[in-house]
């Protein structure tokens, strides 16, 4: 059993973006590293383009699969507005990785929807360490925009306290072999993107 310090990691995005795949990879990697782990999310209606959130917790022993608000160490959002929606789950000084992709939600009352501006600076101003990544651009560069979620996963690898080998082993064991090179490359690029100039707390947001 791993008696090291665990993490609470929240993943958010829009149905169909691949939120559930990367939260699964985190939980499996944590188990590979010897932790107890739990993961929870909701299936069904939320997947039809709605807001999706997945909670992953690992530690020597995990009880509630739901992360209490204000206790997530890390939030990764595959869509920017969804990052804002769940940011209050992150602890003071925690890390938020935002994909720069914007998807304007459908209107529920027929009126035009105003997409909030300046999300990253707003969150940085709240004391979170905010990182904005154009994961889709990196994934397209690698040849498949669908790997954007794995790029984002790579950005948090260094903060999970889990050795890189456990990550690559989990991906090799879990992902379809025909996409493994693409995904390993995407993960690597995510790690590199995060290793760049570290954004200071309250600064460094790119947009």
């Amino acid at each position: 059993m791993n008696t090291g310090q665990g993490r609470n990691i929240l993943f958010s995005g829009v149905g169909g973006q691949g939120v559930l795949l990367i939260s699964e990879l985190v939980a499996r990697t944590a188990i590979r590293a010897g932790f107890d782990a739990k993961k929870t999310e909701v299936h069904g209606a939320a997947q039809r383009g709605g807001s999706v959130v997945s909670h992953v917790r690992y530690a020597p022993k995990v009880y509630s699969p739901l992360i209490p608000a204000g206790e997530a160490d890390i939030l990764v959002s595959l869509e920017k507005l969804e990052g804002l929606r769940w940011a209050h789950y992150v602890r003071a000084g925690g890390t938020i990785t935002l994909n720069t992709e914007e998807r304007v939600p459908a209107s529920i009352d027929g009126k035009p929807v105003e997409y909030p501006k300046e999300i990253a600076p707003f969150l940085a101003g709240k004391g979170f360490i905010v990182r904005s990544i154009d994961a889709q651009a990196i994934a397209i560069e690698l040849g498949n925009y669908r790997a954007a979620n794995i790029v984002l996963l790579g950005t948090i690898a260094d903060e999970t306290g889990i050795h890189k080998d456990a990550w690559t082993d989990t991906m090799k064991a879990t992902l379809p072999s025909r996409f493994i090179d693409l995904n390993l490359a995407a993960f690597e690029r995510g790690m590199e993107a995060a290793a760049g100039p570290v954004p200071a707390r309250g600064a460094g947001a790119t947009r």
Binding site: A37, A46, Q47, R48, G49, P65, H88, P116
Partner: protein
């Protein structure tokens, strides 16, 4: 099948399937419904189990129960509201008992994540006089499923296993065990037990005697666990709430109930008598709390003081946050929405969804539309705003006919009931027969997208394949409709907007019941995804910014700028938006060249 004993990271539903397989189950049946669907899907992966998607939950129950009284171990799985559909069959089984172990899974949905209502099916255990177990994580889901089969056979009664969305759809570590493989018991006719309307009276007392024995059994049942800690606070709980209690009150003594009906009266009384504050933490109804009050429990000082639903909410899900707020009076966690607007993100029909074509037409025709349960309920949202009602599976057709009866000619030509193919087969045929029988004229749109869409593409009797994709007879809807007396039948492709509107108009003005079959496969089906699609784009110099294209409600079309923009990644090239454009401004990317 090889037995792998290494720990597995399973959802509660996967673990139930595993537990049932380990218990040597012979037959499993169900109808898809979130959060229960993956139980049957996972059981279908064990080749030595006879598994089916049934037409509806009552059929599923009857099939599985037939297997049980014939001597096999059987399981039926459904969501909380599915149990309502099967309830007629369930209620009688306390009389008639089982032969092979029989387990009924009820997957409740506190918080209504994917359901029309919130209901606490623990109440149904008491109502039907059937015992119920409730696991708190995936390992318990596996273990309790096996225990449920044993209890079922020991006490000659079906056993409910209750999950909630959070236990069904959370993953945690499971240690798989060996399979107990027994041949089904031989069939033995027992009409004095199984012809209930004639012989039921003689079994009536037996039901109460058996419940008394089960209560006795619960006192020492190893899944009811006392964890002694501080004597200041004692918490009685079960299921996922137990995990929240452990997180928020690590110092408390806990009575964790694995069997939640009938309850171990003595065990509960003794536990309460050892602590100063008795607190009941349960989602939804005050089910335990009411029992505690009837049992007359008292605390260490002999006082009958129970902290329960006056503090712990009786609606929606609990969570560590909710327990801190309600029991520790901690403030709500801060949210940012007062400082920055966070628009809600409703679920939407997919890019290229065939239902869009139908709803576009119904909106245009200003029809009064009664809806039903499925993805297509989303037609109620803008820009279509095309659905007036949606209640539960199969309700829409009867609802429309009732409206017609009240308002007669002023309304009958405006009424349309929309229903998906799987829902129609589940419970839409009987109300349609009723319309024909009673001389109604209501129009029905059968939205045939060749799958059970909402729950993730489960096979149904209209598809020509079973749960394991074996070829089988596919319902011929036109023949079926003719056989029940529908003569006005039209089949349209919902991508043909003009044809769809014309067919609907024709059907609505018809003097007899009319069915329009809107036939096109769900775009998320693998066969459909595999097809090559050329995405479309908006040519800015031709666009007149009239926004008519946005009326098709496509999420690949971003209308937040003056000139709408199509996401090349998400557009599937259905061309519905292009059909709406009067200016030829929406065209295939690169003129369709590949």
């Amino acid at each position: 099948m090889s037995v792998d004993h290494s720990p597995q990271f399973f959802s509660g539903n996967e673990a139930i399937a595993r537990g049932a397989w380990e218990a040597g189950i012979h037959v499993a049946a169900g109808y898809p419904g979130t959060p229960s669907t993956e139980i049957i899907e996972n059981l279908a992966r064990y080749p030595d189990v006879n598994v089916e998607w049934s037409t509806n939950e009552k059929v599923a129950f009857d099939v599985a129960y037939g297997a049980s009284i014939a001597g096999g171990r059987a399981l039926v799985a459904m969501k909380h509201v599915g149990v309502n559909v099967a309830l007629d069959s369930i209620m009688v089984t306390a009389f008639s008992g089982v032969r092979g172990g029989f387990v009924i899974i009820t997957a409740d949905d506190p918080g209504m994540h994917s359901s029309q209502n919130e209901q606490d099916n623990r109440c149904l255990a008491k109502f039907a006089k059937i015992p119920m177990l409730e696991p708190s994580d995936s390992e318990e889901a596996r273990r309790f499923t096996k225990l449920a089969f044993d209890i079922s056979e020991q006490f000659d009664i079906p056993v409910f296993l209750r999950t909630t969305t959070r236990t069904s759809h959370s993953k945690s570590l499971v240690t798989p065990g060996e399979q107990v493989r027994n041949a089904p018991k031989g069939y033995r006719p027992e009409p004095s037990k199984h012809v209930v309307p004639i012989y039921g009276k003689r079994w009536r007392k037996n039901i109460d005697d058996r419940l008394a024995k089960l209560e006795e059994f619960a006192e020492t049942f190893p899944a009811n666990v006392v964890e002694l800690n501080s004597d200041k606070l004692g918490i009685i709980t079960s299921g996922i709430s137990y995990q929240y209690v452990k997180e928020v009150f690590p110092e408390a003594s806990v009575l964790k109930l694995g069997m939640i009906y009938p309850l171990p009266r003595k065990m509960i009384r003794d536990f309460c008598a050892g602590v100063e504050t008795i607190t009941v933490v349960e989602e939804l109804e005050p089910f335990f709390e009411e029992h505690l009050r009837i049992f007359g429990v008292t605390n260490r000082s002999g006082k009958p003081v129970i902290v329960g639903k006056e503090k712990v909410p009786s609606m929606f899900e609990l969570s560590p946050d909710v327990l801190r707020r309600s029991l520790l009076d901690e403030p709500s966690p801060p949210v940012f929405s007062p400082e920055i607007s966070i628009p809600v993100r409703p679920p939407v029909l997919c890019p290229g969804c065939p239902h869009s074509g139908v709803y576009f037409a119904l909106h245009k025709l200003k029809a009064v539309v009664t809806g039903d349960i499925g993805c297509y309920t989303l037609g109620a949202l803008p820009p279509f705003s095309a659905i007036d009602t949606t209640f539960c599976m199969g309700a829409g057709i009867g609802n429309a006919f009732g409206m017609e009866k009240v308002h007669g000619e002023t309304m009958q030509k405006k009424l349309v009931a929309v229903i998906g193919d799987s829902t129609f087969l589940h419970s839409g045929i009987a109300p349609l027969i009723d319309i024909v029988f009673n001389k109604g004229v209501t129009t029905i749109v059968l939205m045939d997208n060749s799958t059970t869409g909402m729950t993730g593409h489960q096979q149904h009797p209209g598809m020509g394949k079973t749960i394991r994709d074996e070829k089988t007879y596919a319902i011929d809807y036109e023949q079926l409709l003719r056989a029940i007396g529908v003569r006005h039948i039209d089949v349209v492709d919902p991508y043909d907007l003009v044809g769809t509107e014309a067919a609907l108009k024709d059907a609505m003005s018809s003097e007899e019941p009319a069915v329009v079959i809107s036939r096109r496969a769900c775009v998320l089906l693998e066969e459909e995804r595999a097809k090559h699609h050329t995405p479309y784009e908006v040519l800015a110099d031709l666009c007149e910014e009239c926004d008519l294209c946005l009326k098709i409600g496509c999420p690949a079309l971003d209308g937040s700028q003056a000139v709408p923009e199509i996401s090349k990644e998400r557009c599937i090239g259905c061309d519905l938006c292009a059909k709406l454009c009067h200016f030829g401004a929406i065209v295939p990317v690169n003129g369709g060249a590949q």
